[in-house]
Symmetry: D2
Subunit: 273 residues, 4 copies
């Protein structure tokens, strides 16, 4: 019988997230039981990802971003992948993992590419250019790459993405629309004026808005990416539960053949306004 | 070239979750852009999973449950699996899926079993027994199965689970501690008195508390299970980001060799109390 | 800084699969470099799962089972889930994992249920009944459960499953068609005669044939289940690579709308006959 | 009730892999039932991934590569991730997916990087350089990047990787050791002579050998990557089944604390030589 001792296996490693002692759990230093009932889930998400509780304004924006991405109907490949797992009788947990895996670089992946674009532009601004000139230079660069995507702009369904509009409006109201959101708007304008993009109609989309707002409130692209996944898991879970409850096993799922039969459009209760 | 036409593939199927029209997205009937800034993420989670917005009390409890389970340190197998994926250079998304998959029936799986136990007991209560008698009968049943687990009670580390204590306290303050939580407390008492369990010290754990509170606020076991997974995804993401930022690739991860080096215990800012 | 030492973390645990020493790797005792070029992959799969190399007959049957399940076209939910991951730009590895997750209890899950059915019948045989009488009793039992499935029998497309026919023929030629396959055939006959199933046309399917052959060659249901997953991974990989090479990103995948444009039917090269 | 019709959803799409008709299944044109018993699993894997059956020599090499990577003991992060899923009670299928997900760019990911290195070198050769000069130029390039990895060379445990030695020997015996393997050997020599690498001892590893042999037999890097994953799934399955059978649930898994207790080293049966 041979014992294998791997180098490094016994060396202590460090974590700064959560401390577990007998009958005591702290997250980033705050007792978890004290947080319960006093800290919203969105604030706790910000805390565990960044190390500090958000200010009220930032907490509101983080919540708004998480809400904005909670679901986008029955057609995204991620949702369809999760429903295909569910129709085979896979568990809720396995089906959620399936949906998370179908977030590839083309889905929800605009955020890192958009961030690089904005960072390139802000480097030009720091070097002395105006926002408008920097945006024009970036758009000329995009155009020179021919059939390139425009990360953060354009949408398969929407000509104006209502989630993006609302998020940028909130950032403005809360006075956190700094350089990233300013450059995002400048880029939207430059795209609408450049002959290579003028006809494609490329409004800011929710990925672009989240990217810029995350930039302005100091979140890294990695944390922004984490927020995207965290925000969609409830939507995936809801689709999986609906698949389990309403549909028969092993069905052939044509994404285009679905119909919506939920509640008609309604207003939020007054107390929330 | 042969075309395959599968039966049923063209039949419309239904979804009641989210309605997408050009420039308009509604979740359970509410415009998503109207929800942003007015509805907390925890409330939106409840909405998409159940179909309605929560009352303020239920919203607070759902948030408390989501916060309570956001992380439990570096040792759970789920967290270790996610870190093992991350150390190989897998993506954040792939590593999150890895962590979700390591939520098997023995981890976070107490909730359905606990719910069945409580439902069995409440059937006895509806048939005329007192809570105390029903609890005693359930405990006698558990004892007769020898080395059986006691779903919802006991913990590897904690002799009193601070998260369970706090959640049941909140449910009491908000006056939603109805039959499920009453029976849970009766069971805790019966376990402490029965000779088969007396020495094992089996306090209510967070799974048991979540199970009972979900029962009392009318959530199905499936929705309770979804809440568990949703709540832990931010914690998994935080561990993965920490692994990527602090550790070297392809390391051998001994779960027991970690040390906490985050902030010392601290109090929440006053405005939250 | 606090060090957490978990109970049991330092206790040695055992593995009997693969032994790694410097410049030497043995699998179940055989040097891996000696196996290369002398042991087929199918034999190595049997070796690592069971602990011994197969006899030539059993090796041939294991290979036949692995080949039989390598792919079943573009419509299974598992394949569609993997293609949905691929269309979002997920990696080959992530997309394969997605496909594996969409093997739920309704897909490839007949094998354990079929094994239980056959084990129930063989208990009757050991108690003195004939195969025919045992099969009739099992079928009466299935009929009494109303709309129950018949694990191991029936297929969505095929009225005779050519893979099952061939596998049972091979088992017969190699003289390993013992009690499990005999009872499987007896069950097929009893289903065709019972009024509750007569009109449903329920031939042995590939799951049933694999289940019975695995039983007769002494493989546990767990190993049979592992063979099913192992066998399909190459097919999933091929679909993912085809999706990446032939299709555009973020497409809407209607499983029913595919057409086959590969080679026409052809015969194997002569040397293989 | 609104019907959503997505563009493109009804357009036919093509697949050239497997054709399903009633009672007939062909893979790349060959009837699956005719393949059973006549085509080894390794050959079928090559067929479905490339479109044609391998020649006998190539079939033997593909089998050797698949066998070489079937397992590498209990310490790889992928294996540990799969065991962590299994210890929580996750299913065999979910645990296999977990293991596949922990194949990130640092694990099994050397093959694409090694292929790029070899392709760069072969471009130099086509431009007129000798193999030795091209190898020296590549190594100088690697050295100039400081602490860069050397994809295809070096191993955590082995000073000579017995699997690489054997695979290259087989390629030589079968006369398929063309430009890729020649350059690989030239690189090994150049690394041993360059002052920046001389002391690190960087022999060809199994990733490098698989990469070069795949290059010489005309397999794309994508197919080589698929072979790597396919080959390891049986090993993952064996570890998961062993975890389920030998260990207790929810254990803390220290990768370094394992001991091998399987068969002692033994020789293959004579008929195989």
């Amino acid at each position: 019988m041979a014992r294998s001792r791997l180098e490094g296996a016994d060396e202590p490693w460090k974590t700064s997230l959560t401390h577990i002692e007998r009958n005591r759990v702290t997250v980033r230093g705050y007792p978890l039981d004290e947080m319960m009932g006093r800290v919203h889930f969105g604030e706790a998400i910000y805390l565990i990802l960044t190390g500090e509780l958000p200010t009220p304004s930032i907490g509101l924006l983080v919540d708004a971003m998480l809400v904005s991405f909670i679901d986008h109907g029955a057609t995204p490949p991620s949702t369809i992948a999760a429903r295909n797992a569910a129709t085979t009788g896979a568990s809720l947990r396995g089906s959620i993992a399936t949906g998370v895996l179908a977030f590839g670089k083309y889905y929800g992946g605009d955020i890192p590419a958009c961030r690089r674009l904005l960072d390139d532009g802000l480097a030009l601004v720091r070097a002395g250019q105006s926002m408008v000139d920097a945006a024009a230079e970036l758009v000329t660069g995009l155009a020179s790459h021919g059939d390139q995507p425009t990360p953060g702009f354009g949408h398969r369904y929407h000509t104006t993405d209502p989630r993006a509009t609302r998020l940028l409006q909130l950032a403005h109201e809360l006075e956190v629309d700094h350089q990233y959101t300013q450059l995002l708007r400048a880029l939207e304008g430059a795209l609408s004026r450049h002959e290579a993009f003028r006809d494609r109609h490329l409004p800011v989309n929710i990925d672009g808005a989240i990217c810029a707002v995350c930039g302005d409130i100091g979140l890294s692209p990695q944390v922004a990416d984490a927020l995207i996944i965290v925000s969609r898991v409830p939507g995936l879970a809801a689709h999986i539960l609906e698949e389990q409850q309403r549909e028969s096993p092993m069905r052939v799922i044509n994404p285009a053949a679905h119909e919506y039969d939920g509640p008609s459009e309604r207003r939020l209760p007054d107390r929330r306004k």
